[in-house]
């Protein structure tokens, strides 16, 4: 089952093309949507919610067309915006009950679900106090709770870790992972930080300038590559020349040398070269891809 599908999705604003013939197929699970600021992440979410008209192409969410079924989609989807969106003068309980009812949940069920969901996101005694007095971390939890309170089939979380300290970030990421695995709700989570999505996502979609850059299982990004990284205390270039003379493909990458791994003997060649030159070896490791490499390897 495909939860999100777009075909040639294009969105032009008077001065800028936010999405450019985007083709996506998203399967259930926790899916990361990565892109720099202005890459079109928030625009995509607004279109998927049926709130922005499409210029060209089309999109379906949970099998429903965004052009014609916006209301039906919004009834089954939870949305956590990037920016502040909570009134200061009501309590988290009061607010979440109201938001559950706005999604069509009857009053008594709205109260029950609010109590459940606030507990799941980790809000306890403070849920009866006005939101205005909450910390950033608590507010992010309320924002998450209001997107979860009507038990959606799919959640759009726009930069949920924004403004959180490292501990709060870990908590939030753990919660999102739990929503995807324990709660069985699919999640589309955006971030401009690749590292945090590596930890929680099943799939990652990368868009840039409104175009699809890459969409893959998380494993595909991080599989071992046929490269080893060598770091020496000094004499990086000397070593580089020596290895090149030995017939290896070598290139510099910051303090490291990246050496193409031909076979197991490559390690020995590197070791011997380092010893012969009398250099201090700091690190010798087989490199794994990080999602962030997608950016660096992209042709400029």
């Amino acid at each position: 089952m495909t939860i999100i599908a777009t075909r040639g999705l294009t969105k032009r604003f008077p001065r800028v093309t936010a999405l450019d013939r985007l083709d996506l197929r998203v399967e259930p699970g926790v899916v990361g949507l990565v892109g720099a600021n202005g890459a079109g992440k928030s625009t995509l979410i607004k279109i998927l919610l049926g709130l922005l008209p499409v210029t060209e192409g089309g999109a379906e969410v949970l099998g429903m067309d965004v052009r014609t079924s916006g209301e039906a989609i919004r009834a089954r989807v939870g949305y956590m915006p990037e920016h502040d969106c909570l009134p200061a003068d009501v309590s988290a309980t009061e607010f979440c009950v109201h938001m559950a009812r706005m999604s069509g949940i009857p009053p008594s069920a709205a109260r029950e679900r609010t109590a459940d969901v606030l507990r799941h996101v980790g809000l306890y005694e403070e849920r009866y106090r006005p939101i205005g007095g909450y910390s950033t971390g608590m507010k992010q939890r309320v924002k998450l709770a209001q997107a979860l309170v009507h038990d959606p089939d799919l959640m759009f979380l726009d930069e949920p870790t924004n403004g959180l300290d490292p501990a709060g970030r870990d908590d939030m990421l753990g919660l999102i992972r739990r929503i995807g695995t324990d709660f069985g709700i699919s999640v589309l989570v955006t971030s401009h930080l690749l590292g945090e999505l590596e930890r929680i996502c099943d799939h990652v979609i990368i868009i840039d300038g409104g175009r699809l850059l890459r969409a893959q299982d998380i494993g595909a990004y991080t599989e071992a590559t046929k490269t080893i990284a060598v770091e020496v205390a000094e004499g990086r270039d000397t070593l580089g020349h020596r290895l090149a003379d030995s017939g290896l493909q070598v290139r510099a990458n910051g303090r490291d040398l990246l050496v193409d791994l031909r076979d197991e003997e490559t390690y020995d060649v590197v070791r011997d070269a380092v010893t012969d030159l009398g250099l201090g070896l700091v690190r010798l490791e087989q490199r794994r891809h990080h999602i962030s490499d997608v950016w660096q390897e992209r042709p400029a």
Binding site: E71, S103, G104
Partner: protein
């Protein structure tokens, strides 16, 4: 409560009914109406609306009490109310104007200021539904504030064994007037308040517009009446919310006139009806245009 117990409870899916857009609009309406009176908000949010509501009702209670005592002391006293139905809202307009100025911004500016709109719009409602629910809530709140004292007067009259039918012929049209007052004032208040996300600005703007328009109308009417242009003075009433509705109910509901200036019963008075309708339509147009620009 520890983290362990929380994990043990587990997540429960919701299998019950999901009511649609109509229910969502009604929920927004009732939540907003409660909000006007500070219900579901901290205690201090309740003080002002309930104090103003009480102030609106006190003259009616005094009127009933005076009549009760009078009937005991002077059995031959004529059966009249100290505060007549038809003039009640107009005479106490300062109270409802403060109510409107204080509570309209909390109804709409708050959602703009805290950027709550994206959350509403990501639910199964449309922009127009939001406007409709908020207008209906403000209208209902004002109608409660207006109808409660009128109803107290009527019940008091029945308690005083005044002629029930005679009282009803005054109470009924006054309630009709209350509906129009509530409509016009709700549209006026929300229109102004929706233009600023700052609550203070909203309060100040509504009060200022009310004071300036009413002041200007009063002065103009005074000058015109002094020069015996009574009819012209009546039409000047079109320029301020309370005098506009006063003119409307004088003509349309065949009520005795309150305030100065007087429009002859006839075709001329229909202007007030036209202007009331035009004001409501314009307010709706402004709100729709305003909310089209609010980011989702």
């Amino acid at each position: 409560m520890t983290a362990t117990t929380i994990h043990d409870i587990g997540y429960r899916h919701y299998g019950g009914p999901r009511l649609g857009r109509g229910y969502a609009i009604r929920s927004l309406y009732s939540n907003s109406l409660r909000g006007v009176f500070g219900l579901g908000r901290p205690g201090r949010a309740k003080v002002l609306p309930f104090a103003l509501f009480a102030l609106m009702c006190i003259p009616a209670l005094v009127s009933v009490a005076v009549r009760l005592v009078m009937a005991k002391l002077v059995p031959t006293a004529p059966p009249i109310n100290l505060f007549p139905y038809r003039a009640y809202i107009f005479d106490l307009q300062a109270i409802s104007a403060i109510f409107l100025a204080a509570q309209s911004p909390q109804m709409v500016s708050r959602d703009l200021r805290f950027h709550v709109m994206p959350l509403y719009l990501s639910r199964p409602i449309r922009r127009f539904d939001y406007i409709l629910a908020k207008l209906a809530a403000m209208f209902s709140a004002l109608l409660i504030v207006f109808a409660a004292p009128l109803t107290l007067l009527y019940l008091g009259a029945l308690l005083n064994k005044m002629n029930a039918w005679d009282q009803l012929t005054q109470y009924g049209p006054a309630l009709g007037g209350a509906v129009v007052y509530a409509l016009v004032l709700a549209a006026f208040g929300l229109c102004v308040a929706s233009l600023t996300p700052r609550r203070g600005f909203g309060v100040a703007a509504i009060i200022a517009l009310y004071l300036v328009s009413y002041g200007a109308v009063s002065i103009l009417q005074g000058i015109l009446v002094a020069n015996t242009y009574d009819s012209a003075a009546g039409y000047v009433g079109l320029l301020s919310p309370y005098t506009l509705v006063e003119g409307f109910q004088t003509w349309a509901l065949r009520q005795e006139h309150t305030g100065i200036g007087y429009v002859e019963p006839g075709a001329g008075g229909a202007v007030f009806v036209v202007v009331v309708v035009a004001v409501l339509a314009a307010a709706l147009g402004i709100l729709v245009a305003r909310y089209r620009k609010v980011a989702s």
